[in-house]
Point group: C2
Chain length 350, copies 2
DNA sequence: GCGCTAAATGTTTACGTAAACATCGGTGTC
DNA sequence: GACACCGATGTTTACGTAAACATTTAGCGC
């Protein structure tokens, strides 16, 4: 007898709509809409009654209908190349928190390669899914910059790149950080600073390397050859072995903390003392950096501020959309030297 | 002359709709809809013509309208307590990749405290914003479990918790990992294994501690007092100092890699050799763990698999919604012992 | 060639909301 | 006291899509 009743019935308890609330409160649905959107021209008593009805029925606005009608999604898209780095993680955290604060949601699209094709795919996907703006986190990988142009239609903010005048860019002041690191070592009395660099395909790595070179030259020192790594501890370890075997090396600036960690491990293996024989400076200030052995002197990046600035710039664009399309800015976030125990003055040559 | 034209005109280049495509291709908009959704009953020639028109006009489906009409958003929400841990980041990465693979987007909501209030807020926010299902990543913090019930309406999958029969739960096999770590040390000949635990408010920490205790008891060993940390390197360092000063301690199992790192730093400071004097095992297998000094023996968690399973379980529920509401499962993901150089057999007492 | 079937396509409608416009009292001004 | 005006509320409409239903066309057996 119950054969039919056993079949799928009332699968999704239909959520109440404005019309239901309106009926319950004895007003028109437009009035419900006004209450829902906080418009001012509603009588206090009416508003209270509507709110009570909303509560009673468990009303929740339907974002799809709202977006369809208003053209706004209150969502921003984030395109990221990898979630595996400390910096991206922090940046994403800040973006999401800041967005929530402004009552926006964050839609995340990870992308495997930093190719124009993949970014475009993610971008058009976002524009289909419905976002009001896009933040692209280049992290450190190089796109074919010359061709980097997205179809128009959405406000875009780029983090960590030199995408130039096309888009608003938020970036850490890489040059400042590398200068701080190098000057710190020179200030301790080192006559030369060796550099374990990030890959040449990375904007930030290139900027750090250039700034290191410039700082040395400004101090009248001819920069030694650069040792290129790939951000990994292994590459730091490899170059650490090379440098640790030379007794004219007293100071190393690694382009990130992980390579610094690898280098220190190599120095330990060679029996060289850090900082007694060789000083090491990193870049990033990882959570664990102060627990490395020895605790690492490094350059702290303010990823939180990068995220906040990105959201702020993006929402400005979203609100202005159509007016100031060409108002692109470059926002720079400062770095900070964190001195710990991996650096010291060089030993006087015996 | 251009005064009026300078005013905001045509702010957003109106995106073409199905109707526009239909007109361009000389068909009805319903046919365009059918092509857009890949329905089979469209003539090949017509389909080609429609696709060509889509391309010509740059047509993109409007997700808001689609969601309004179909009730599906093709988006899943992720509630996370913090993006600052390695595990969460990895899990999120896997979730996002796996979701993209199934053509779903991910909407991310970070939550500051693990309170029911905050989770409910995030949950209702997601249900307003329009998602088809929710993944909640408890990470390691304890909710008031007794009261943890969300309003119905959305399929939910919980990661890393003992939320029990209410929801489908995906979890790493904490007990297995702790057992592997403890047995590894016992297998090397250690007579006792000390434990630096995570906070008692954490499910995973508690499970690891219990399993460590059970493993010792099964080996006929009376477990020593537990040293509770808070996952941080500092807490590991503090307990490391305590343990390193006792000469009856030969083996330490830390509940995560960061506490293991802190402990090893403390042992270095005390002049104790790792693993010569004391062996250390961690838990997580951080990216850098193999570059610690010495490279850390640890338990690898397969966060990628956790993310994949979560999406898989959730989409199963989304598709079945209304049928199997009560079909909640518990999915367990295996751990793996990674042996490096921080563990060795104990020195024979002199 | 007739009627039948099925495939291809068109037409109508509803999803929930919010803008635009319409209505209806009451209030202040002269 | 007539008029303009304003605030509160109701009515109509359109947003872009896709389900449901309707229509047309081609193919096929007899």
């Amino acid at each position: 007898m119950a054969t039919t009743e056993g079949a799928p019935v009332a699968r999704k308890a239909a959520r109440p709509s404005m019309g239901d609330v309106a009926r319950h409160a004895g007003v028109s649905s437009q009035t419900v809409s006004r209450v829902s959107n906080g418009h001012s021209n509603v009588d206090a008593a009416t508003r209270a009654r509507v709110i009570e009805s909303m509560r009673a029925l468990g009303y929740r606005p339907n974002s799809a209908a709202r977006a369809l009608r208003s053209g706004r999604f209150r969502t921003i898209g984030v395109i990221m190349f990898t979630l595996r780095t400390f910096g991206n993680m922090r940046t994403l955290d800040a973006i999401a928190s800041e967005a929530a604060h402004a009552n926006y949601s964050v839609m995340l699209i990870p992308v495997v390669d930093a190719t124009l094709e993949q970014v475009s795919g993610a971008y058009s996907r976002l524009s289909e899914q419905g976002v009001d703006g896009v933040i692209i986190v280049f992290e450190a990988h190089l796109l074919d910059n010359a061709e980097f142009t997205l179809p128009p239609g959405l406000p875009v903010v780029v983090i960590d790149s030199n995408a130039g005048a096309e888009y608003t860019v938020v970036d850490t002041d890489q040059a400042e950080g590398a200068r701080q690191a190098t000057e710190h070592l020179l200030g301790l009395g080192h006559r030369q600073v060796w550099h374990i660099a990030g890959p040449e395909t990375s904007f930030s790595a290139v900027h750090r390397t250039e700034s290191w070179r410039r700082t040395l030259k400004n101090a009248g020192i001819e920069p030694p050859p650069v040792l290129y790594g790939d951000w990994s501890t292994e590459s730091g370890h490899r170059h650490g072995l090379t440098l640790g075997r030379r007794d004219d090396v007293t100071a190393i600036f690694a382009a990130n903390d992980q390579m610094a960690l690898g280098a220190m491990r190599a120095l330990h293996e060679l029996g060289r003392d850090v900082p007694g024989d060789i000083s090491v400076v990193g870049f990033d200030d990882l959570e664990e950096a102060h627990s490395f052995w020895p605790p690492l002197t490094t350059i702290r990046q303010d990823f939180g501020e990068v995220g906040r600035q990105a959201i702020q710039q993006l929402l400005r664009k979203v609100d202005d959309y159509g007016f100031d399309d060409e108002d692109n800015r470059r926002v720079t976030v400062h770095t900070q030297l964190i001195v710990r125990e991996s650096t010291a003055s060089p030993r006087v040559r015996a």
